[in-house]
Symmetry: C2
C-alpha cells in the first residue's frame, strides 16, 4: 500500500508543510502498545489448538462440545421462522441488555433449576461467558486490585482478568472445593475485589464444591467487601451425583453469576449472560454498550425461537448420556492402561478429567512426545496463575469418539511407561 | 433472594466460623466499581432512544438503517443453506480472527473499492465496529494517553475510548474535514497515541474530508508516532459526488481501519472488522480472544453465504437510492419550513444532517419542547468531548418515511419559530 503518485495528486491550491520526518523506528512502534499488552503472549493453549484441527490427531486438548449432538435442523427451522415472523425487527439494532423474552427464559430457568428468584432486569446478555468475564473486569478492576483465583483456574478467566492488570492470589482446590482456611486467611490479610470460582465440574480440574463447602465459602465472603464471580458453564451437564445449589444462593448482593448456552446448545452463537444485582448490572450495561453496543440480536432471536419450539431439557439429557458414556470410556481406558500411580479426578459432569503424573514426571515432556504420536492434551501448567503444580494434565472427553478415546489413552499410556 | 432456611441447611459435620460481620454499607459497595465507571453515566442518547421506540414519535434521533430494505428472505435462505451444508462446523467454536473466506471477501472489496492491497491476515472480525473501537483502545491506550478527536465526534467512540481513561484533545471539523493547522500544532506540542477520524459522512455532522485534506492529514501524521484510527461505516452509502480514497491509502504502517456490515446488510448481526498491519493485528487478536473468544461464527457463516449468493453492490444501490430520496425530502422540508438563518450541512451520503440554530437558540430547549410534540432528535451537545458548540442538532433521515420526515420537520420549524 505505497501511496502511488502521491505528490502528483496534491491539488495546486493545497498547502502542504513538509516537515523533516522524525525517524520512527520499530521500537517506537512497539512502544505504542498499552502496558497490558506487553505482558501477554500468544496463548499456549491457542497454539495447541492449532494442532488439534488436524483430523489425524486424537485431541483431548480442546474444550469443545460434541458436534454430533448439535440441533442443526431445529436451529435452521428457528432461523427461518423468526425471520418470517419478525424479519425487520430481527435484523435491526436492539437494546444493550438483550432480548427481554430470552432474559425472562433464563430467569425462569434459574428459578426452576436452582430456586433463585431473579428479575430479567438482573440479566444482561453477553457474547458467551468469556465476555461476562471481560465486562466484570471492566466494571470492577483498577490496575493492582486483588483477584482471588482457584488453583488451577480457567485459562480464559486468567486471560480476561489479566488485561486489567490485577494482582492475583491463588488458593488451592481440594477434591471437594477450595481450601477454605486459606481463603479465610487470605481475605483477612488484605482487600480483594473479586473471588472467581467455577464450583461445578471446574475447567480444568473437573472438581465440584461439596454442598457444605458452598455454604462455608458464602459465609466467609459475607464478611468481606469482595464480589463472588461464580462461573457456571457446566452445571447442566451433570450426569451423576446430586445437583447442588449455586454459591450465589447463600449470598445476597455481592455476587455475580455467569452462564452460557455454549455448552447446552451451540458455542458458535456466542450467547452467554451475566446475572447480577441491579446496582451492579446498571454499570455493567454501560460497559457492555461501550464494548460492542449489544450481542447479536439475530442470534438471540434464533436462540429464543429454538428454546420456545424445543424442549431444552430433553436435548440436554441427550448430552448428559453421551458425555457420561465418553467419560466412562476414558476412565475405563485410564484404569486399564495407565500405570497405577497415575492419579486422576473422576468428574460427575462437565467435559474434563484432571490427571496427575507420579513424582517428577513432566507433562510438558509427555506433551512433546505425544504430539509426535498424534495425541494432544493440555499440560496443566497452563492453568496456574500462581505456583505451578507440574505433572498435571487436562483431558477433554466430550469431543472425541469412544473408539478414539481408547486409542488415544493407550498411546499416552505407552509414552508414560517409557518416561518412567 | 434471601437465603431461606439458611442455618438449618448446614450439615451437622460442617465447621462454619461465625465472624463478626463488618458493616458493609452502600458506600462500600459503590467503592467496588473501577475508577473508569465512576465518570460515566447512563448515556443521554440511550435515554433519548427510549423515547424513539414509541411509534407515535417521529424520530430523527436514532442512527438506524431503513428496515424496509433489509434482505430478509435472502438471509433466511443463507441460514438454511449454510446449516444444511456445514451444520456441525457452523455451530462449533471457531478461530478468534474470524472466518477466513469472509476475511478474504472483505480484503477483495477493499481492493476493488479503494485499491488497497490487503492480506486477509490483516483483518480481524469484530462485533460491529463498536468492538473495533474497544479493542483498539484495549490494545493501545494506557490511562492518560492522548487521543485526538474531531469536534463534534461519534458518541460511541467517545464512550469506547473513555473506558480506558485517555486525555482527549478535540480539533474542529470544517466543512471539508478537520482543521489541519490545528492538527499539526497539536501533534507538535505533545505525543498522542491515537487520532480518531470518520472521513466519510461523519456521524454526527455528515461532513466528508476533501481529497486534498486526506492527503494533507496523512502527510502530517507521517511525522508523528500517532496511530490513525479511520472509522468508515458509511463510505458505501455515497449517493452523490465522487468516491474518495481512504486516508489509509496515503499512510503506511500506523493506520487502522474499522468497517462494518451494519449499514450495508444488517446491524443486528454485529459483524464488523478491523484492518490493521500484522504487527498490530497480532496483539489486537489477543485482546479479542480475552474479550469474547470470537465473534459469532454462525452469523459470520450466514453473512458470508448471503454475500456469496447475492450481489452486494445491487443491494447497496437500492440503499443509496432510498437514502438519497430521504435526504432530499428532509432538505426540501428544511428549506421550505425552517427560518432562513438556520443553517445545515448537506451530506453526500450516510444518514445524518447537521443543523445549526442561529445565535443563542438552545437545541436542548428545542428538544424538550419537541419531545412533547412527538418529534425527537439528538441535541448536538452529546457529541462534544471538549468545548461544546451549543445550538446544534443531529437529524437522522434513514429510518423515517418521507411523509413523516416532512411532518416532523414542519413541527420542528414551528417550535423554532416560537423560540425566536
Amino acid at each position: 500500500m505505497k501511496p502511488k503518485g502521491f505528490f502528483g495528486s496534491i491539488a495546486p491550491n493545497t498547502t502542504v508543510t513538509f516537515l523533516i520526518k522524525k525517524a520512527i523506528t520499530g521500537k517506537d512502534m512497539q512502544d505504542l502498545f498499552a502496558n497490558r499488552m506487553k505482558d501477554v503472549h500468544n496463548s499456549f493453549t491457542r497454539e495447541i489448538l492449532k494442532f488439534t484441527s488436524d483430523p489425524e490427531i486424537i485431541s483431548f486438548a480442546g474444550g469443545l462440545p460434541n458436534p454430533k449432538l448439535f440441533p442443526i435442523e431445529e436451529i435452521a427451522e428457528a432461523s427461518v421462522k423468526v425471520l418470517k415472523e419478525a424479519g425487520e425487527d430481527v435484523l435491526q439494532y436492539n437494546a444493550t441488555e438483550g432480548y427481554l423474552p430470552l432474559r425472562r427464559y433464563i430467569a425462569k430457568r434459574y428459578l426452576k433449576k436452582d430456586g433463585l428468584k431473579i428479575s430479567p432486569d438482573e440479566i444482561l446478555i453477553t457474547n458467551g461467558s468469556q465476555q461476562g468475564l471481560d465486562l466484570t473486569s471492566k466494571t470492577f478492576l483498577n490496575e493492582g486490585d486483588g483477584v482471588i483465583l482457584e488453583s488451577p483456574s480457567y485459562l480464559g478467566a486468567i486471560q480476561a482478568f489479566s488485561m486489567y492488570r490485577p494482582t492475583f492470589q491463588t488458593i488451592p482446590l481440594l477434591e471437594d472445593g477450595i481450601e477454605t482456611n486459606s481463603l479465610r486467611g487470605t481475605l483477612e490479610k488484605s482487600d480483594f475485589k473479586l473471588f472467581y470460582a467455577v464450583p461445578n465440574f471446574q475447567n480444568p480440574s473437573g472438581i465440584s464444591y461439596a454442598k457444605e463447602k458452598r455454604i462455608e465459602v458464602a459465609e466467609i465472603l459475607k464478611n468481606h467487601n469482595t464480589i463472588l464471580v461464580e462461573d457456571d458453564p457446566y452445571s447442566e451437564l451433570r450426569f451423576s451425583g446430586t445437583p447442588l445449589p449455586p454459591l450465589n444462593k447463600y449470598l445476597e448482593s455481592r455476587s455475580i453469576m455467569l452462564g452460557t448456552f455454549s455448552k447446552t446448545v451451540s458455542p458458535s452463537f456466542r450467547i452467554g449472560w451475566i446475572y447480577a444485582p441491579e446496582w451492579m448490572i446498571e454499570k455493567i450495561n454501560i460497559a457492555k454498550q461501550a464494548s460492542d453496543l449489544h450481542t447479536s440480536y439475530f442470534t438471540q432471536r434464533v436462540m429464543f425461537q429454538f428454546l420456545s419450539d424445543n424442549d431444552l431439557d430433553s436435548h440436554i439429557s441427550k448430552l448428559r448420556d453421551a458425555y457420561k458414556r465418553q467419560r466412562d470410556c476414558m476412565i475405563d481406558a485410564i484404569e486399564e492402561h495407565f500405570p497405577e500411580d497415575v492419579s486422576y479426578i473422576k468428574p460427575e459432569g462437565g467435559m474434563f478429567i484432571w490427571v496427575r503424573l507420579p513424582n517428577g514426571l513432566s507433562s510438558m515432556k509427555l506433551f512433546n512426545i505425544a504430539i509426535k504420536e498424534d495425541v494432544a492434551f493440555v499440560p496443566g501448567e497452563a492453568f496456574y496463575a500462581g505456583e505451578v503444580e507440574k505433572g498435571t494434565l487436562r483431558l477433554n472427553y466430550s469431543s472425541t469418539s469412544e473408539e478414539k478415546i481408547e486409542e488415544g489413552i493407550k498411546r499416552l499410556a505407552c509414552i508414560i511407561k517409557d518416561l518412567y
